[in-house]
Symmetry: C2
Subunit: 372 residues, 2 copies
């Protein structure tokens, strides 16, 4: 197995897990936030800068790379690591979530999904086999099974049929996987907001014995309380000795909830996307650097932060750059926001070690001031 | 005098000058290309990255900074060096060239120039005194006299009157200059394409005894031959013991001509601007990385280059980033292009040292393949 998970300890106060994920490109301490590099680049950043803020693993998007520049090109370049000059662990998604987001542009059958490219309208057919073929070519350390992600809300009968197809697809992915010794294939538990369907999905996928599991079908528009409820009962259905990945999580509140419920890995474009709009995540809450109040503010973005941006630049300067659409603005706020979530992950790990994650959460929010 | 120029030697083959420019923020080896940081940032780059490619001095634009974020703000921040986190030498222009480029939006009188902001249409009045007030607030090591730059072509009588006003303005700049011990004020020789007027302008300005001189009014649309002719006869009119600056020069052909004619400093937005469009300057000529021919080209941008971009990325990858409008594309090509001109400057200095600049120029073009 290319991927193994070592459970170091569980937090006595919260139940959160501290662990190490072993991958062909190095170890990852969990819980961990994974920066997203959709198109083989974490927007604005070099790999060296990602390492500077102690990024341990990044995510890249299979569908985008399949459409452009094409997985064959990346394979010829020596794989995604070589192509983008990142020698740490990489996770690629299956393309499923992106394909299903295309709404009117796609057509689902048992065989797979036909869709039109969001770039040029060209027709494509993605199947479990195709997704794995592309992910094998990209060569990420962790690859994901091609699943159907039902919308919210959805009828129970639809969700049941969907999860059963997802199981059949997961089996097809496993059979199609050509590099089981160098790339770990994760199964994705579906089942919508229905406990018995989550149980059914988890049971079926665990029988297929994947080296890790994701909880899919959350963060799709459902209320936060419902999302946490599903997370609370679904996570314990997963094997303790395998890593657990929750997709689309990138704000402190969801990160705390994920960790507390025993999730080990999470990712989101949120911190990098808002950075390019001049919004910074700080220890005292989110701030939009465009605001006039920062015009003559010569303090760093976050006084509690020691990232490159905070050590060397003022809010007044970054605000000037943001207002002028200067690329350096996007760079500085991206570095800061990713560092913020990586340090939050680190602090969460530290708190788990000391059996005080709930206390740390309370301390964090005392400064942060509000829950999103 | 905050600025002094040390002539190390003249090239026996070409007459080019090798020298050292002493400034309050360090020494600059000349001839040197100066990257442009219009809005207090060399687009896409951090100061650390500029140092990595051995940038010795940068240029910033007074008019842009006056309009946004305002020179008072930058003064409050501790000056431009502190504001933008660059501790090396800086040169600011006078704002004159930008104001005169506004065409219909400006109105010239003996007192100064009234113009409308290209940002919000607001009215402003720039005088020699105002330009120096702004440049004093910014605090660059080298500041420029506020001059009128006549268009090409222009009537001789207009050019004569204009250069005489430029002399009077230069005197007013000198009188208004509040920091003569920490900021060196350069005079700008005008006189269009007329030898006797260039002589008149040079003579009048030399009498005012500036610590350095620029040759203005070139690269304003005149044919290249004419530009070189004017340069050839104007440069020798300038004192040998003062630095000489030629504005708007940023391609190899003009850089060679400038150096051969005894110019010490030059700047241009060209290398950084084309970089953001995916065009790289290489030892074998310019290439546009968008071109299909680079799709599966796994060589570096320039095999003869050792910059960060060339050491770590392929043309195929950079092409992918350019096509996807990824910020990292602009970063990598900017690093490369600036490094290209800085290494060219370095090689020119080396060739002067060895009295073989004309030979080096020939060798350079043998590889480069063409003259722009």
């Amino acid at each position: 197995m290319p991927i193994s998970y070592e459970l170091i300890k569980e937090c006595k106060q919260s139940g959160a897990r501290l662990g190490i994920l072993h991958t062909p490109h190095g170890e990852v301490e969990t819980p961990i936030f994974m920066p997203v590099g959709t198109k083989a680049t974490v927007k604005t950043m070099t790999p060296e800068e990602l390492k500077e803020i102690e990024t341990q693993i990044i995510l890249s998007n299979t569908l985008h790379l399949y459409l452009r520049p094409g997985h064959e090109l990346i394979e010829k370049a020596g794989g995604l690591h070589e192509f983008m000059h990142w020698d740490g662990p990489i996770l690629t998604d299956s393309g499923g979530f992106q394909v299903f987001s295309l709404d009117d542009l796609r057509d689902i059958s048992e065989e797979g999904v036909e869709f039109r490219s969001f770039i040029d309208g060209s027709k494509h057919f993605f199947t479990p086999e195709k997704s794995i073929e592309v992910q094998n070519a990209l060569g990420a350390d962790i690859i994901m099974a091609f699943d159907e992600c039902p919308p919210y809300p959805a009828e129970k009968e639809y969700v049941r049929k969907s999860l059963e197809m997802t199981t059949r697809w997961a089996k097809r992915c496993k059979d199609a996987h050509k590099n089981p010794d160098t790339q770990g294939l994760f199964g994705i538990v579906q089942g919508g907001m229905f406990r018995d369907l989550r149980e059914q999905s988890a049971k079926e996928l665990i029988e297929l014995d994947f080296p890790g599991y994701a909880i899919g079908g959350l963060s799709v528009g459902e209320p936060k309380d419902l999302m946490i409820e599903v997370l609370e009962y679904t996570a314990p259905m997963l094997p303790k000795d395998k890593p657990r990945y929750l997709m689309g999580i990138g704000t402190p509140d969801y990160i705390f909830e994920a960790a507390i419920n025993g999730i080990d890995m999470f990712d989101c474009v949120y911190p990098t996307r808002i950075a390019r709009n001049g919004t910074a995540m700080t220890s005292t809450g989110r701030i939009n650097l465009k605001n006039a109040q920062f015009k003559e503010d010569f303090k760093p973005i976050d006084e509690a932060c020691d990232c490159y941006a905070c050590k060397n630049y003022t809010r007044a300067y970054v605000r000037h750059l943001v207002k002028e659409n200067e690329i350096l603005a996007s760079r500085l706020v991206t570095i800061h926001n990713l560092n913020f979530l990586l340090r939050l992950s680190e602090n969460i790990r530290e708190a788990i070690k000391e059996d005080r994650l709930l206390d740390y959460k309370e301390e964090f929010y005392k400064k942060y001031g509000y829950i999103e």
